[in-house]
Symmetry: C2
Subunit: 182 residues, 2 copies
């Protein structure tokens, strides 16, 4: 049977993973944000076998992250451009980048996000676009949405009490987001 498909799952994270879970997918998305459009663009920076590249590219097109667009009649040539869905993936990539830089770059970062005006390194954090408030589990919570099944509701209820901040083992615990996971 191999890998279970998560497609029928409720969890939005699992659903996202369905689309970009393969090893190359996120790297291809990264390349797309770096400006790659053509087969060759992707290939030369990634050292990926051409058949694999075809497969992953096709998959990303099917999932709706990329669009295959003809840019030459003859010979017929196609390029792969980010769709809106694909562009919306950027925050995930940047969150990953920040996390990678923070924890897996002992020799210092090789890629940094910088403010062009001040020249300073940017520390990217998540905030609520509406209020500008930094995300934290004192004020914000994961709750069941309209489409949630019963099982999901129960799980989120128990998750809420965990994330909500009740000390539970007498252990202080470190900071998360704005600083308060038990």
């Amino acid at each position: 049977m191999q890998r279970k498909t998560f497609r029928n799952m409720q969890c939005p994270i699992a659903r996202g993973l369905e689309r970009v879970g393969e090893w190359w997918s996120m790297l291809l998305m990264r390349e797309a944000f770096y400006g790659a459009r053509r087969f060759d663009d992707f290939q030369k920076n990634l050292d990926i076998a051409p058949n694999m590249l075809t497969r992953r590219l096709t998959a990303l097109v099917e999932e709706g992250l990329l669009e295959r667009r003809q840019y030459s009649e003859k010979p017929p040539r196609y390029e792969y451009v980010l769709t809106q869905c694909g562009r919306d993936f950027l925050p995930v990539l940047l969150a990953m980048l920040a996390w990678g830089n923070k924890h897996f770059a002992p020799e210092g970062p090789s890629v940094e996000l910088r403010d062009k005006e001040t020249g300073k390194v940017v520390d990217p954090v998540l905030v609520d676009a509406g209020t500008g408030e930094r995300l934290n589990f004192k004020r914000h919570a994961l709750v069941a949405g309209p489409a949630a099944a019963d099982g999901m509701r129960r799980r989120l209820a128990s998750a809420a009490s965990f994330l909500g901040g009740a000390e539970q083992t007498g252990e202080a615990g470190g900071a998360v987001l704005a600083g308060d996971l038990p």
Copy 2:
């Protein structure tokens, strides 16, 4: 040879993927944030085979995202708790959640992030913690860091001109982050 290891790569995204690229890894992390600590906690919500669970859990411990901690002498029992590194992974998960909700929940979201005070749904976006400015490629840029090799420098230079916003195909393109990817 199978899957190339990205460990020697410069890119922080690839380095991150090294740790959480497997299918189950991110789901296990999600569970950890939902409060799972014990073997059984993880197992019952995920429908994962016990041997796989052991493997992934062990891997996450080795990567430093979880810590295996003894909570009972006899019988010897262990629990898996988030390390600082693991907690810092939350933004990636939330970004993924937001993305999944936006694009892959046609029937409406089953999990929402809400502001407990206002009751409103949160739209999570990335900002610069220093300035509060929403990330956008007019003002912010990916640049080579101190540890960047030459190849990386070149790539980022070309990426910069892409992300920076030069119209390049006469196509307007949609919004990214604060709204301006070409």
